[in-house]
C-alpha cells in the first residue's frame, strides 16, 4: 500500500504547486507533475506479481502476463498530457511576449 500512498503524495505535491505558485512556468511544471503521478497510478494498478511484460512469445505461451489494459490507457493518456502541455506552453510564451513577466498576479494588475 505504501507505493499507492507515495504516488498520491506526488499527486498532492503537484496540486499544491498549482494552487500556491504564482509563476506561470511553475504552474506548468506542477501540472506535468500531477500528470506523471496519474500515469504512475495506472501502471501500479496493472502490476501482477511474477508477471512478464505482455509480449506473447509463440515459443513458450504459458506465462502470467501483466494486465495490458491500464498500459493501453496510459499510452493514450501520455499523448493527451503532451497535447495539454504543448497548448499551455504556447499560451505561456504568448503571455510572456505580451506582458513581459511570468508572474500571474502582475498580469492580473496589468490587464486593467
Amino acid at each position: 500500500m505504501i507505493a499507492y500512498i507515495m504516488c498520491f503524495i506526488l499527486f498532492m505535491v503537484g496540486l499544491y504547486g498549482v494552487i500556491t505558485r504564482r509563476n506561470l512556468i511553475k504552474i506548468a511544471v506542477s501540472m506535468s507533475i500531477m500528470e506523471i503521478s496519474s500515469f504512475l497510478f495506472f501502471a501500479l494498478i496493472g502490476y501482477i506479481d511474477g508477471g512478464v511484460a505482455p509480449i506473447v512469445d509463440p515459443a513458450d505461451p504459458v506465462k502470467i502476463y501483466v494486465d495490458p489494459l491500464p498500459q493501453a490507457l496510459v499510452l493514450t493518456a501520455i499523448v493527451i498530457g503532451l497535447a495539454t502541455t504543448a497548448m499551455m506552453m504556447a499560451i505561456i510564451i504568448r503571455l510572456y511576449r505580451k506582458y513581459g513577466t511570468f508572474d500571474i498576479r502582475e498580469i492580473k494588475n496589468l490587464r486593467g
Binding site: M34, A77, I80, A83, R94, L110, R111
Partner: protein, 512 residues
C-alpha cells in the same frame, strides 16, 4: 446495432480535417462546408430522437461480442436521455455556425476557427454517446482542448489570460477525472459503465465509494462550473468570440458537465443519501451566489456568464431533489417530476442562453462595445436584435407565456411537494432577482436614449446573424409547448425513466 450512431462522431471529425485541408486552397469553402455538415447532423439527431422512444440502441465498436456477460470492446449508446442532449448540441452548433459566417470576418485565419468548431462538436457528440468511462475522458479532452484554443481565438491580452486560467482549472479537472477512473478500475477491473454497476453490485466499502464519488463529482463539477469551481467561467465566456461563448454557455457545460454527472450518478453509482444532499446544496449555492454576482456586472457577456452559473444551479437543485427522494425510496413520482423539471430547464436554458449570447455578439458587432453604460436606444436602430433579446430575457426570467416559466414552475412544484419549502422559496427569490437584472439589461441596452453621441449610424447586423437569432427565438417560444402533459410524455419521460429506474440501463446493455 443501428449504424447511425458512429456517424455523429465520424462526420464532424472527418469534416474538420476536410475544412483544414480545403481552407488552404479555396478560401470561402470552409464556412459553407461546416454549415452543411452541421445541418446533416441536425437532421440525423432529430430523426434518432423521434425513433428512439423507450428503447436503447447499442453499437459495439469493433464488433467485439461480450464473453460470458463481460463486455470487452467500447460501446456507443443512444437512449432517450442522450438523444435530447445530442439534439441540443447539433442544433445550437448549427445556428452558431450560421451566425459566425458573418461574425468571423473580424478575425484572421477563419479556417482554423471552423476546423476547431467541428472538432468541438465531434468531441461533445463522442462524450454524450459513449458508454465507456475512458472513452468519455478521451472525447472530453478533444472538446476541451479545442475550446481552450477557441476561447483565445482573437489573441488579445485579456483573452490569453482568460484562456490560461481556463486551461489550468480544466487541466486539474482532467487529472482528477483520470484519478477517479483509475480508482474505479482498481476496484471493478472494468471500464464499461453498465458493467461497473454490475461489479459494484457485489459489495463495496462505504468510505472508498464516497471518495470515488467525490473525485468524479469535483472533476466533472469543474467542467459544469458548479459553485466551488466556477472561477474560470466568467472570464472564459466573456472573452471568447460570441458564437463560441453561446456554444460554451448553452451547450458545453451541459453536455460535458451536467450530462456526465447525471449519467454516472444515476446509472453507474447507486444513489446514496449524503451525496444527494451534497449535490443539492451545491446546486442551491450556485443558484444563489451566481445571481448575486451577476447583479453588479456592467459588461453584457460577464452578466450572462454569471447568470449561466445560477441557471445551472436550478438544474442541479431539481436533480438533487430527485436524487434525495430516490435514495430515501419515498414518493418516486415526485422524484420523476423533479428530474423532468431539471431536464426541461436544461433544454430551455440551452435555447435562451445561446440566444442571449448571440444578441450580445450582435450588439458588439454593430456598436463595438460590450459595456452597458456606453450603450442606449438600440431599439430603433436594431429592431430585430432587440425583439429577439426581449423574448430571450423574458423567458430566462420566467415570465408566464415563455418557456423559462414552465420549467421553473415544475421545479418549484416538485420542491414544494417534496417538502423542501426553503429551496422552493429560494428558487422563487432568485427568479425575481434574475428578472430585475434582465430588466436592467434591456433598459440600458435598448430603451433609454443614448446620451453619448455616436458618430457613425448603428445599422442592423447582416442576414446570417439575424436568421440564427430569429430561429432561436422561435425555438424558445415553441419549447413552452413542452409543458403540455402529452407532449412531455413522448419526449421527456423516456429520459427520466432511463435515469430513475436504475436497473433498466444495465439490463438493456448486458442483455443485448
Amino acid at each position: 446495432m443501428n449504424p447511425l450512431i458512429p456517424l455523429f462522431v465520424i462526420v464532424p471529425l472527418a469534416g474538420a480535417f476536410l475544412v483544414m485541408i480545403t481552407g488552404r486552397f479555396l478560401k470561402e469553402l470552409d464556412k459553407y462546408l461546416t454549415s452543411l455538415i452541421l445541418l446533416f447532423l441536425v437532421i440525423i439527431s432529430f430523426y434518432s430522437l423521434s425513433t428512439i422512444g423507450e428503447n436503447l440502441s447499442l453499437y459495439k465498436v469493433g464488433g467485439w461480442e461480450p464473453i460470458d456477460k463481460v463486455p470487452i470492446g467500447i460501446y456507443m449508446i443512444m437512449d432517450g436521455f442522450n438523444a435530447i442532449i445530442v439534439c441540443i448540441i447539433n442544433l445550437i452548433g448549427f445556428l452558431s455556425a450560421l451566425y459566425s459566417i458573418s461574425y468571423i470576418k473580424r478575425y484572421t485565419s477563419s479556417n482554423y476557427f471552423y476546423a476547431l468548431f467541428c472538432l468541438m462538436i465531434g468531441g461533445m457528440n463522442g462524450v454524450v454517446l459513449s458508454g465507456d468511462l475512458f472513452n468519455i475522458f478521451v472525447f472530453l479532452e478533444i472538446s476541451v482542448i479545442s475550446s481552450y484554443a477557441l476561447v483565445a481565438f482573437g489573441v488579445e491580452k485579456s483573452e490569453l489570460e482568460a484562456s490560461f486560467k481556463y486551461q489550468v482549472l480544466g487541466g486539474m479537472a482532467s487529472f482528477l477525472i483520470l484519478f477517479g477512473i483509475g480508482f474505479i478500475y482498481w476496484k471493478t477491473k472494468t471500464l464499461n459503465i453498465a458493467d461497473i454497476k454490475e461489479a459494484f453490485a457485489n459489495g463495496y466499502d462505504k468510505k472508498y465509494y464516497l471518495f470515488v464519488q467525490i473525485l468524479i463529482l469535483s472533476g466533472f463539477g469543474l467542467k459544469a462550473a458548479m459553485i466551488p469551481f466556477h472561477a474560470w467561467l466568467p472570464d472564459a465566456h466573456s472573452s471568447a468570440p460570441s458564437p463560441i461563448s453561446a456554444m460554451l454557455s448553452g451547450v458545453f457545460i451541459k453536455a460535458v458537465g451536467i450530462y456526465v454527472i447525471l449519467r454516472l450518478f444515476f446509472n453507474m453509482f447507486t444513489v446514496s443519501e449524503e451525496m444527494a444532499i451534497l449535490i443539492t446544496t451545491l446546486g442551491t449555492l450556485s443558484m444563489v451566489i451566481g445571481v448575486f454576482l451577476a447583479i453588479g456586472q456592467w459588461d453584457i457577456k460577464r452578466l450572462l456568464a454569471y447568470h449561466s452559473i445560477s441557471q445551472m444551479g436550478y438544474v442541479i437543485l431539481s436533480v438533487g431533489i430527485g436524487m434525495i427522494l430516490i435514495s430515501r425510496g419515498s414518493k418516486p413520482e415526485i422524484a420523476a417530476l423533479a428530474i423532468t423539471g431539471g431536464i426541461f430547464h436544461l433544454i430551455n436554458h440551452a435555447a435562451f442562453k445561446g440566444l442571449l449570447f448571440l444578441n450580445a455578439g450582435a450588439i458588439e458587432y454593430s456598436t463595438g462595445t460590450r459595456n452597458l453604460k456606453e450603450m442606449g436606444g438600440l431599439a430603433r436602430s436594431m429592431p430585430v436584435t432587440s425583439a429577439t433579446s426581449f423574448i430571450a430575457s423574458m423567458s430566462i426570467s420566467g415570465v408566464p407565456p415563455f418557456n423559462g416559466f414552465f420549467s421553473k414552475l415544475i421545479i418549484i412544484i416538485a420542491a414544494v411537494m417534496a417538502k423542501f419549502y426553503l429551496l422552493a422559496a429560494l428558487a422563487m427569490i432568485v427568479s425575481i432577482i434574475t428578472l430585475a437584472s434582465f430588466m436592467k439589461f434591456q433598459r440600458y441596452a435598448f430603451y433609454n436614449k443614448s446620451d453619448i453621441k455616436t458618430d457613425q449610424k448603428i445599422k442592423e447586423v447582416p442576414f446570417p446573424m439575424l436568421f440564427s437569432m430569429v430561429v432561436l427565438s422561435i425555438i424558445c417560444v415553441l419549447l413552452s409547448l413542452l409543458a403540455i402533459p402529452d407532449i412531455r410524455e413522448t419526449i421527456l419521460t423516456p429520459a427520466v425513466n432511463i435515469l430513475t429506474d436504475h436497473l433498466k440501463y444495465t439490463t438493456l446493455i448486458i442483455g443485448q
